[in-house]
């Protein structure tokens, strides 16, 4: 059974949201999803790029009022 957790990293500056996401992924099992909320503009591009590089799956980037929600599935 896969699970989804949400990390609220709003207010953290680069690379804080990415590091919080990575720390959360480390504790999850393959297939789990982590949604990270970030008010750092770079995260909307940086997190998908990081996923591509290290072979996790970015399921979507959604702009919300004042922040971005990025959904990542742990793939390895």
């Amino acid at each position: 059974m896969t699970e989804r957790v949400t990390i609220d990293a709003r207010g953290a500056f680069c690379p804080g949201p990415l590091m919080e996401l990575i720390a959360a992924l480390k504790t999850r099992k393959i297939g789990d999803e982590v949604e990270v909320w970030s008010s750092d503009k770079g995260s909307a591009v940086d997190i998908p790029e990081w996923c591509k590089k290290v072979k996790h799956e970015c399921l979507g980037v959604n702009e919300q009022p004042g922040y971005w929600s990025v959904l990542v599935r742990k793939a390895k």
Binding site: C14, P15, I22
Partner: protein, 129 residues
């Protein structure tokens, strides 16, 4: 395979230490090996029991960076989550009469001479700050 990133950090100015910490931690969590050699005034940033407000030399950008993640914490996170080694310049320690025990715990992999660091760096990409 991506070549190892070698960073020589010699300035204790906050903007340079911050840039080094950002580069090192992001590269390390992106499946890239990173080695950081810390020398000159940068070594004082890592002096034991210093608060973030005491660590850095001032520069014109410092006042903004107090909102960003602290550089020493970023180095620590990069080591925990990725493949990163930090070396303390043995000369910079010697001239101050410092040992590794005078530095923040769980960050440095040991003292190292510049000659060894430069020899290792021949096989990778090199950045100085």
């Amino acid at each position: 395979m991506t070549p190892t990133l070698f960073i020589l950090l010699s300035s204790g100015e906050r903007e340079k230490v911050q840039m080094a910490a950002m580069m090192a931690s992001v590269a390390a969590v992106s499946d890239r090996s990173v080695e950081v050699f810390v020398s000159m005034s940068a070594i004082q940033v890592f002096g034991k029991d210093r608060s973030p407000s005491e660590r850095y030399l001032d520069d014109s950008f410092s006042k903004f960076l107090c909102k960003a993640p602290d550089a020493v914490d970023l180095f620590r996170q990069g080591k925990e989550l990725g493949d990163m080694k930090l070396w303390a310049c043995s000369m910079a320690l010697d001239v101050q009469g410092w040992e590794i025990s005078n530095l923040e715990e769980d960050i440095f992999d040991g003292p190292l001479g510049l000659t060894k660091f430069l020899a290792d760096a021949e096989s990778g990409q090199f950045v100085t700050l």
